[in-house]
């Protein structure tokens, strides 16, 4: 399986490079260093590690196809610990010591924005694979996102909940940029379709129990719960809802990063909007390769990381390794790149628009695609 993927990846990369200038990796040339900043420790490291794996897999594919202008891509992975201070330290090392032109970043806006503040005056490139705050749009020319910002996904979630016949909804999200950003755009879309928002609950992350937060919903009896979140917190929130007897269906953004607490109770109750295109042939091959290499099914950020590295590699291949040239080439190569997360279309700021979105439902113990 591993060998099969390597061949496929190399072929894909070679096809992508064919319009450019393919060539074998030259041993005498120093490698092109690309930085990766991810919270490998701290909060939610699982998705972060998946992103790194995606980047590694793309770099391997690019190297197998001849590297960048004959030079190998070498990754330098730094831990941001999900702390702004550590993220800045990692970025400073990458930019000033390792002299990388570009870094691929995983982390919330609280880590990504200080890194962008550092990168912008240095003229560096950041590929954002996870942060979704609208503030990231302020770093046009520096920061390019392979995932859509909150407003796009939130809008889809709001429309989806309304399309399922929900007239009233309550929101349960973590009190962070991701949760509240998605909540606001989903609420707006839900109300646009005639829905009524009964309550917005933004919980403090990392609590052992959310019954106190969810208690109000028992009396409100919403038709739907609209949510965003990830990891253990989502499991705790589900448990609280189950114990309180709240039986409303959950319509969520990114169901793939939710952790289900009780399979039987959740069966058919959890559905939502997630990254699209992952079930494409390329997505399926990547998934199989990731399972073979890392012994676990990858989360969506694996694919965002993969696309970020591929786009960078293609831009470097087209324009060389000068940072200004790469920046100029990135939007061009994105136009013809059919990625693991579908076609990547950027607005003038480098933020992803019109991403393919799929709908998933938790059924029979796993998430299953239900419609595009």
């Amino acid at each position: 399986m591993k060998l099969g993927f390597s061949v496929l990846a190399a072929v894909c990369a070679m096809v992508a490079f064919s319009a450019l200038s393919p060539g074998a990796v030259r041993a005498d040339e120093p490698p092109v260093s690309v930085g990766v900043i991810a919270n490998l420790t701290g909060s939610d490291p699982k998705s972060s590690v998946d992103m790194v794996h995606g980047v590694e897999m793309a770099a391997d594919a690019l190297n197998a196809a001849g590297g960048v202008k004959g030079r190998k891509i070498a990754l330098i992975v730094e831990d941001s610990e999900y702390r702004p201070q550590a993220g800045i330290e990692a970025a400073t090392k990458l930019f000033d010591v390792n002299k990388v032109d570009a870094a691929i970043v995983f982390g919330g806006s609280s880590v990504s924005i200080p890194i962008a503040e550092l990168a912008a005056p240095k003229g560096k490139i950041l590929m954002n694979t996870s942060a979704s705050s609208a503030k990231l749009g302020n770093y046009g020319g520096t920061l390019f996102s392979t995932l859509p910002l909150d407003d796009i996904v939130g809008q889809q979630v709001g429309f989806y909940a309304a399309s399922k016949g929900a007239k009233t909804a309550a929101f349960i999200v973590p009190n962070n940029t991701f949760g509240t950003g998605l909540m606001e755009s989903a609420a707006k879309a839900f109300e646009e379709k005639g829905g009524k928002v009964l309550r917005k609950i933004a919980y403090t992350e990392g609590q052992p129990d959310y019954r106190a937060d969810l208690q109000a919903l028992v009396a409100l009896k919403p038709d739907a719960i609209i949510s965003a979140g990830y990891g253990d917190d989502t499991r705790t929130a589900f448990k609280a809802a189950r114990e309180l007897g709240i039986d409303a269906p959950w319509y969520v953004g990114y169901p793939s990063i939710f952790s289900v607490e009780n399979d039987a109770w959740m069966n058919g109750k959890l559905s939502g909007v997630d990254n699209g295109g992952l079930d494409s042939p390329m997505g399926q091959k990547l998934k199989a390769a990731a399972v073979a290499k890392y012994s676990a099914e990858p989360r969506p950020h694996f694919y965002y990381g993969y696309d970020a590295m591929m786009l960078l590699g293609l831009a470097m291949q087209k324009a060389g390794t000068g940072v200004a040239a790469i920046k100029a080439a990135l939007p061009d190569v994105a136009k013809s790149y059919d990625g693991a997360t579908g076609k990547i279309e950027w607005d003038a700021r480098g933020q992803r628009i019109n991403p393919p979105m799929d709908k998933f439902m938790f059924k029979d113990g796993k998430l299953q695609a239900i419609a595009n």
């Binding site: 590690v49 330098i76 702390r83 201070q85 330290e89 000033d96 919330g108 806006s109 924005i113 503040e117």
Partner: protein, 291 residues
């Protein structure tokens, strides 16, 4: 590499100021402050508030440094009659309350989104400012340490009742130390905000308090040199392990965890073999007859 060294020196200087602030409270006076991140955050949020509301930088600095001691006094007043265990809990809670308040009140400095602050583009200037701040606070703390007030604070640290029997009001002196040391931490917060260019609640988690505590305990809480040395060791351990990690060629997630483990191992070894810190408080002899 030069820029990275400048960045590292700036970081060490800012965190050393926080350490000296804690030295005055804990090392000199015996106040167990587990909310040391609070005055740091107040200072930074002063800068954030100014940025969001269109005020000049100096106004943000003034707000941060003015509010820090005021909040310190507000925290210490209800805790003044409690023993040190409760003082630790109260300050720990106060730090979290402030962070959660900033998270939920978007009108102050962007709430959960945080706020962009004018960033010091000239990194050398940022380093010089940090070193000037460090020198100023170190000199001030040194003078305080050597003054009659410093001797009284040591008495307070060892035995509050004894200090009271000498006709001194312990709470009054604790208030003075808190106000002074929180101004220092507030200044460090203002500078930190302008060095990073961004203020958000996640920059001021409880873990930051324990980074400061680790440095202070490691270097020696009772000496200024110890605090600065401890801070340098803690910060440089974090930085140097990045290079070791890069050269090791092990899987990145394993290396990231090993980095933290190595960090913990250094601390455990120091605590085992040098519990008084690397630079302990020297014994001082005073000739009573010469007075």
């Amino acid at each position: 590499m030069t820029d990275f060294i400048i960045f590292s020196v700036t970081t060490i200087a800012i965190w050393s100021v926080l350490g000296i602030s804690l030295h005055l409270q804990f090392g000199l006076t015996g106040l167990v402050n587990f909310g040391q991140v609070l005055p740091f955050a107040v200072g930074a949020y002063g800068a954030g508030f100014a940025a969001v509301h269109g005020l000049p930088i100096w106004a943000g600095a003034l707000i941060g440094c003015g509010l820090a001691p005021l909040i310190g006094v507000l925290v210490i007043l209800p805790a003044g009659r409690l023993t040190q265990d409760y003082w630790a809990l109260v300050t720990l809670g106060a730090g979290e309350i402030f962070r959660l308040a900033m998270l939920n009140i978007s009108g102050i400095a962007g709430g959960v989104e945080g706020a962009s602050v004018v960033r010091l583009g000239d990194r050398t200037l940022a380093m010089v400012l940090a070193l000037v701040l460090l020198t100023g606070t170190a000199l001030f703390a040194f003078r305080m340490d050597r003054s009659p007030l410093g001797r009284l604070l040591r008495v307070l640290r060892e035995d509050e009742t004894l200090a009271a029997t000498l006709g001194r009001n312990p709470l009054r002196f604790q208030l003075v130390v808190t106000a002074v040391s929180w101004v220092m931490a507030g200044l460090a917060g203002v500078l930190y905000a302008h060095v990073t260019g961004y203020v958000s609640p996640s920059s001021f988690m409880v873990i930051e308090t324990f980074v400061i505590w680790t440095a202070v305990v490691l270097g020696g809480p009772n000496t200024i040199a110890g605090v600065v040395l401890g801070t340098a060791v803690v910060q440089l351990t974090g930085v140097s392990t990045r290079f070791i990690a890069q050269w090791s060629h092990l899987p990145s997630e394993l290396v990231a965890n090993l980095r933290l483990a190595a960090f913990g191992a250094v601390l455990v070894l120091v605590f085992l073999f040098r519990p008084q810190g690397v630079i302990p408080e020297p014994k001082r002899r005073y000739n009573a007859d010469s007075r």
